[in-house]
Symmetry: C2
Subunit: 221 residues, 2 copies
């Protein structure tokens, strides 16, 4: 039976909680309260408890949460307990920054293949992963069977890359290109928009200035 | 009087609507319905109307929305009608990818200064902006008066960079480093977590596979 539907913002917060829990584990913190989570994440304790409630019972009232256990539970919810191979298309500055980003392994992801169309890059290594031409994608993914792809190419190439990824069996795409991709219904595309982050920040800093006396710049949802 | 509080996910969706409206404008589309917005953004028509309702009346029932007008209204809501200067710290792969990202001007942002500690980079130009040492930040921002800063440095340098930005008058930070930053209450920090995006995607593709017969992988909030 499928799990009940969960609001997307709750999922995004779950990922943020998990990141926070991993930091606590590195600091050898064993238990954490919802109030402490609020201080660490900026997400209210009430929201935190509500988000967890979508996925069942997580903590004991008054005792707080076992950090390691909560981490494992959230990893299970997000289905990131097992290693998942990821394809990266685009070995430019963005692709290079992404593959160098620390923590892939902590979340169970591994970039197993990198593709680019630049002849000067093909055949060289990016962080130990060989860069291949995009035309090799179908054959390469027959062996790797990755279902997740990252698009880190310019906007005018993004649709062709998406089509190639989907043809090769990818069902989930992270799209960094500033363009809306067409895709079949069974494929899930998440657009990452850097500048949208700044637009939200712009709202928040202006709201903060307008109400500096402790009125929160944002409400819980 | 400050605006009423708005849920953060609604703000994030407003930025996504605006991105979509800009694409429609480029295609010379004049009006758009909430159903068409749903098809374009993947966010339900009901959610779209609810989000707009936080900020007053936007459209006329049955006629749809004037694309240009809605764009301007959302820009006003997000306070991005006027140019805002932005400081970028980190001229590595990520910083280079960010400054090359198209669309800064569309959102009223302009990267006016770039800082890095690498002596080989200092004094060179990144997309026409001179790279300066971080120690010059206070003096440079005395003239520029930017309130928004982007942190694109490794995790172990991020806190020092945040401190320097805040000392120089920055009140809003986009943090790409995978570390939780300490900051005074008047400063707003938004963490961008690439891998969190993949974790959410992982949930969605597994939910989609578990319920392939049209059950949505996510609910509205």
């Amino acid at each position: 039976m499928p799990e009940p539907s969960v609001p997307l913002p709750a999922l995004e917060r779950m990922a943020a909680y998990m990141r926070c829990l991993m930091q606590l584990e590195r600091e050898n913190v064993r238990t954490v309260s919802s109030q402490e989570m609020e201080a660490l994440t900026g997400i209210s304790a009430a929201q935190f408890r509500k988000d967890l409630s979508y996925f069942g019972e997580f903590g004991k009232r008054g005792i707080g949460y076992d950090v390691g256990q909560l981490h494992q539970r959230i990893a299970a919810v997000l289905r990131i307990q097992e290693e998942q191979p990821v394809l990266l298309v685009g070995a430019g500055n963005l692709g290079s920054a992404l593959i160098a980003y620390p923590g892939w392994g902590d979340y169970g992801f591994r970039i197993v293949a990198v593709f680019d169309e630049d002849p000067a890059k093909i055949g060289t290594d990016l962080r130990g992963v060989r860069i291949r031409p995009l035309r090799d994608l179908p054959q390469v993914n027959r062996d790797l069977a990755a279902r997740i792809g990252i698009i880190a190419v310019p906007a005018d190439q993004a649709q062709a890359v998406a089509d190639a990824l989907i043809d090769a069996g990818v069902t989930g795409i992270i799209n960094f290109a500033p363009v809306k991709l067409l895709h079949p219904e069974h494929v899930i595309v998440r657009d990452v928009c850097f500048i949208c982050e700044l637009a939200v920040l712009s709202y928040l800093i202006h709201a903060q200035e307008a109400a500096p006396d402790g009125v929160p710049a944002q409400a819980a949802d």
